[in-house]
Symmetry: C2
């Protein structure tokens, strides 16, 4: 394993320059005006995988953005690792809050600042470069498959169908994903839990058209006021969600999990500072870490209605809308929670109004067995890189496809992430530490070796 590790060191600068080139392509999957650039980002990656020495590389079509697939077969006896990642990125707005062009990467204080640097181009690319490091120096100890999709930020809408269609081609022993975070700077961790997501949009319509608030005010119900009341009623005084049956299927945190939460070196002051809040707010009875990773939530992600420009327009608006999403935990399902939200909203529409309810997307939460060979291999790899045993943690974010890999391909997933909460993913000035980029390449090289040994021993 020395040769590939040395190769990665020798080519570290070139790897960074290649990543920058990829980050310059604005692959915003949710915005149709960026369709061409999104495809370009896929083509760019395919070329890079070919250059890395992966034998079989394809840009495979879906009904949405394509999947980049690559394969290198070593031996029928070797275990197969399927690396999953995504080449699409979040929209960069609000643009005015960026210090640089989000698609012109800048190195700053050891970080690479660009949209997608941490989520997920930078992290996916670590495995591409780990594969290159093996292929350029030695036969890898595992068979390798890459599935890098272009719709993760849009709910991975076509990936489940893709996995179904190519089930045989994608057969593997384990899935490896880097799209999560280290517990803290320099503190390695492996995520064994992820939250799911149910994301909806509601629109209340009152008057058929915008009205003059002088002429009609006092005689008709205002959809903004009415929507505000509906949103306010979604939480009780304990900050619990009031939607009927919301907590029915929640797997409660076990006593030993809650104990492990308490043992984590969590710095609440630093967390508040990073979040930019003076006070935290959690469901009654739960700590911040529990609330953000082990408990379900409901948040408004956007709201709009009426006049929002400069000055004072005395309009009594026709409509008001909100985007609302719930983070879910096992065994809540997005389909069930979405239906419960629908039932709740439909039951609470004022007499004077009509409701439009849209299911935007959803994903399942995940819990992985911490004792599996791949989890132990990841632990071994991270310990070698960081010089300390990694923590097993739960993450608050969602990677819905992890549940799909289990359901469709029967694969457990190792979540070996190198992000940090301070990476500002989904926010202005997203960044990824270059030290972590190189640590990630090393960990990936080491994981392939450790996993082959752990599997052989098992």
């Amino acid at each position: 394993m020395d040769a590939p590790l040395q190769y990665a060191k020798d080519h570290a600068d070139r790897f960074v320059e290649e990543l920058k080139a990829w980050l310059r392509i604005p692959s915003i999957s949710t915005d149709p005006t960026y369709a061409t650039q999104t495809r370009s980002a896929a083509e760019w990656l395919a070329d890079n995988l070919r250059d890395a020495g992966m034998g079989d590389v394809e840009v495979m079509e879906t009904d949405g953005h394509p999947v980049v697939y690559a394969e290198h077969h070593v031996s029928d006896d070797a275990p197969t690792v399927l690396v999953y990642g995504h080449y699409d990125v979040q929209p960069p707005d609000p643009l005015e809050l960026w210090d640089n062009d989000p698609f012109e990467p800048v190195e700053k204080d050891g970080d690479l600042v660009a949209r997608g640097s941490a989520d997920d181009k930078g992290q996916a690319f670590m495995h591409v470069k780990a594969a290159e490091s093996w292929l350029a120096t030695d036969q890898p100890p595992v068979n390798l498959k890459f599935v890098i999709e272009g719709e993760e930020e849009n709910g991975s809408v076509h990936l489940p169908g893709f996995l179904e269609e190519h089930k045989d081609k994608l057969a593997a022993d384990v899935c490896l994903v880097s799209d999560t975070a280290l517990f803290a700077p320099g503190v390695p961790s492996i995520a064994y839990g992820l939250r799911g997501l149910a994301y909806v949009e509601v629109t209340l319509t009152g008057p058929k058209k915008d009205l003059h608030s002088g002429v009609y005010g006092g005689g008709v119900e205002n959809p903004i006021n009415a929507l505000a009341a509906m949103i306010a009623a979604l939480h009780d005084d304990d900050h619990r969600v009031t939607v009927e049956g919301f907590y029915d299927d929640v797997v409660a945190l076990s006593d030993d999990e809650r104990e492990a939460y308490r043992d984590l070196p969590f710095d609440e002051a630093a967390w508040k500072d990073e979040a930019g809040v003076s006070e935290t707010k959690t469901e009654a009875g739960y700590s911040v870490l529990e609330g953000t990773t082990g408990r379900p939530t409901l948040d408004c992600n956007g709201i709009w209605g009426g006049y929002t420009g400069e000055g004072a327009k005395t309009v009594l608006p026709s409509k008001a809308s909100a985007k609302i999403s719930c983070r879910l935990v096992p065994n809540q399902t997005p389909g069930d929670i979405t239906e419960k939200l629908r039932t709740h909203f439909e039951a609470h529409v004022p007499d004077t109004m009509s409701l439009t309810f849209r299911d935007l997307h959803g994903g399942h939460g995940v819990l992985v067995d911490r004792e599996a060979p791949a989890m132990q291999a990841a632990s071994e790899a991270l310990e070698a890189v960081f010089g300390q045993t990694p923590y097993f943690t739960r993450e608050g974010g969602s990677i819905p496809v992890v549940a799909d890999f289990k359901r469709i391909l029967g694969l457990d997933t190792v979540l070996m992430g190198f992000g940090l909460d301070s990476d500002s993913i989904h926010s202005p000035n997203e960044r990824f530490g270059l030290d972590r980029f190189h640590q990630g390449i090393e960990a990936s090289v080491r994981f392939m070796d450790a996993y082959a040994r752990q599997k052989e021993a098992a």
Copy 2:
């Protein structure tokens, strides 16, 4: 009086063409990008007043958009009528709901469809053409002054200062304004009451930046959810405003006013149809007419925060904002109500958030003595035009300057409006009936005559 009335008939078509030319100038006073066009609309009007035979016409500067002033002096013995109106218009958005370009007037079903057609260019122009009809045929029976401002839709911010500064020049006996509505099509009315306005903007800031809802959701309070709760709490179950002291200074509707309300030929089904609502909603104990004209209100005029584009962005936003305005009745004052709103919001900001509160503008409500000579003259003029005695009514909208004319110049105002609730002022497809435009010119010609006689008799 036959000659000016005949003149108005003979030149009716030209009058309409002139109005169309004026409507083509997008004088949107609240939007700084339309500053040039707003001034052009003032210059256009000044030229038209000169052509109408008004002797002394000036475009007078303020610290904002200019005031168009015109004067014709008949005799020191004749009473002086000061006509007030405004040449600025509301923003036209949402543009996609217009059937035609809002600044390219179209005649449709007898209406002129364009932004400003009813509010207020079309109505102000009736008096310009009435003056022309007198001046072209006979000496008017009253001295005439015109004050047509360009900031009514922006709270007439510079008009009070203008009135103070030119107090002597603007000396008159009564103020005449057409910026209100007929009670119903063909049913004349004179407004003796107007509501005031207090318009504010609030912004709640929670996290210092937008956050990822997966990473932080469940640990921090969401400003959209928090703002929604604050807005929801602004009304109680009786749809009364909960702001402390809000009703303290309200002059209650008198028994004979409530009886007059009941006598009005009000068609609630038609009103609901026009408003585009299936049900009305009023403060408990009040009718729709009372609620919309004689009682104070609180409405959200706009709300925004977080991600409002296409698709699903899982952001936990930093800020949420709302525009909120109250319609006031005598003797509530905008300054006092704004302070009560400020106190209320400041008292209810969650611990985790900070508040920004902006006073956008305000205006006083008005009640005028129904027995004054000018009110009787208006009644006489309208009866001649419509063949029936007009109703005295209260209007729900605000013309804050009416209170300023009283306070600064000591003038009562006659509100002789020709709008209709169906004119969609402040909404897409604003319109003004050409029949009402011509009736308004006739009424204005007749008012000048009747007022001179009523004053002489008094």
